[in-house]
Symmetry: C2
Subunit: 321 residues, 2 copies
């Protein structure tokens, strides 16, 4: 099989996933990588359509991301937010001045009748991103975080409330009417992917929404391409974001094993390989008992080289299948 | 009559009108001045509701205006526009990063069901403007500039095409269905205004739209408050904007007399006083023959003192009535 010709499919949420996606893009030939991105975090704010995970992907892959801040664009300013604060407007979601252009552009294109997929492809092209970045679906899916005493729209939970409320569960409004991304489904049907990499994103609010788009996870399972997942939990902690806190609140063991149980229970026989960090090596046997191949490596991605190395590792697992 | 208790009504377009409005605000007690502002220049752009003349008024009266640039806010940056340019978006209308907050805020308030008048009052309050700034109407009126070979929406003519096409006429879409601003009509009905000052704004695209809101100019004429108009043409030139160029293209004499003829023909017996610059003093007799009182003074407003002095002059004319 000519691996260079075959495509690789990655599933990703925001920051953590984008790191591995960047490593994968570095390791593959231009255009070989497709990334299917969570849109459950999307929301309408100040009249703008905001797709946080898609933007994190695009900004990371284009080299424009603000690595220090962990979100948004490098060299960003916040003049609009400062002026909006003066007017008593909503400023809890900090939109940078450069970032604002993305949302204005996207909102306008959507209003002109373009689909989110077309708009995302247009943005990628203009930002010089050769990786194919796809929204998980064209339909509107909105993640609700059920918390003790209240339900919160995802960004209200994540940004406005800083993940402070204790979660009891999640739901994805609109998901039963959503159809999976057509481009990736066509490639799956054509067996064009040599492997599928589920990036180390939040299981509950980044990967679950993607996998629960009707028909998607079964299509991934029934496709010959091996599915490799990288654990977002390392040594009992999430590298970024509220995954560990959520697991604790849900009563799930805050370990790589807990993550593996989540996936193997909800999506039986989906995963071929579960990648854990060296620090979690002692759990390998127990994870293996869930019926998944376990691979151990250093999964913490600090440098660009770390990202590339982990990307190579996941790709080699796919080839070894 | 207690002048301090009585209100003053000014009619204004953008920059030129805002200068005199600022002078009037300085000379009057807080809240005594009402400004009725042209909204024919309003437009929807990048999904935002933009009211250029209202904003120029608010920014000028709040001391936030960019006097050097002649539009927008002082100390403005243009990061969003630069990023939008990279995306191939529309950047011919240069929205500053701070200014953007105004449009986002307004658009959101309008979408929530507030009227343009309420939104304008809210903006004024938040910017610390005590002058009552009113849109000429709550209804949508859109100025079209008829040019040789094409019709252009006002901002396309004014900003995108830099007033270059030769004009043949103007129309105000939606004006027949517009109703004049309720607050000012109520005050007119109550004879609350001791005088009306028509600021030195463009006759065709700033003042005409206001006066042609059905019922408005007749209500002004039939009200006992004297109407004082300051000529926007001084020594055959417009201080700012395309008024002189338009007059030349329309075959109207580019003089204060030409301006007086325009108003006295279209709005018979509306004007009580027509204020011209010292440099046009020789025209006083001929303008007087149109049946209007002529007052001569220095009308060029460079300094804050110039604005206050001209404001005092127009107010004294009203009192002399």
């Amino acid at each position: 099989m000519n691996r260079v010709q075959n495509s690789i499919l990655a599933l990703s949420g925001g920051v953590g996933g984008a790191k591995l996606a960047l490593g994968l893009a570095d390791e593959l030939t231009p255009g070989q990588l497709h990334v299917l991105v969570n849109t459950g975090d999307d929301f309408e704010h100040l009249g703008l359509h905001i797709s946080p995970d898609i933007d994190t992907l695009l900004y990371t892959l284009s080299g424009l991301a603000n690595e220090k801040l962990g979100w948004g664009l490098a060299g960003e300013t916040f003049s609009t937010m400062e002026a909006l604060q003066r007017l008593g407007g909503e400023t809890w979601f900090r939109l940078g001045d450069k970032d604002m252009a993305t949302h204005l552009w996207r909102t306008r294109q959507l209003k002109q009748g373009k689909s989110l997929g077309e708009v995302t492809a247009g943005l990628a092209r203009r930002l010089g991103v050769l990786t194919h970045v796809h929204p998980m679906t064209e339909e509107s899916v909105r993640t609700t975080v059920h918390c003790v005493g209240e339900d919160l729209a995802f960004q209200h939970y994540f940004v406005r409330e800083r993940c402070e409320p204790a979660v009891t569960g999640f739901s994805f409004e609109g998901i039963s009417a959503a159809r999976p991304n057509r481009d990736t489904m066509r490639l799956l049907h054509d067996k064009a992917f040599s492997s599928v990499v589920i990036c180390p994103s939040n299981p509950f609010v980044s990967v679950d929404p993607i996998l629960q788009v009707p028909g998607l996870w079964l299509a991934l399972r029934d496709n010959p391409a091996p599915v490799v997942l990288v654990s977002p939990i390392v040594a009992g902690q999430a590298i970024k974001g509220p995954a560990a806190k959520m697991m604790a609140e849900l009563g799930v063991p805050v370990t790589a094993l807990g993550v593996a149980q989540h996936y193997c229970t909800r999506y039986p026989r989906l995963l071929d390989y579960f990648v854990i960090d060296d620090s979690d090596a002692t759990m390998a046997d127990e994870i293996g008992k869930l019926g998944v191949g376990v691979a151990v490596t250093s999964t913490v991605m600090k440098s660009r080289e770390d990202k590339q190395r982990l990307a190579r590792f996941t790709l080699q697992l796919g080839e070894a299948q």
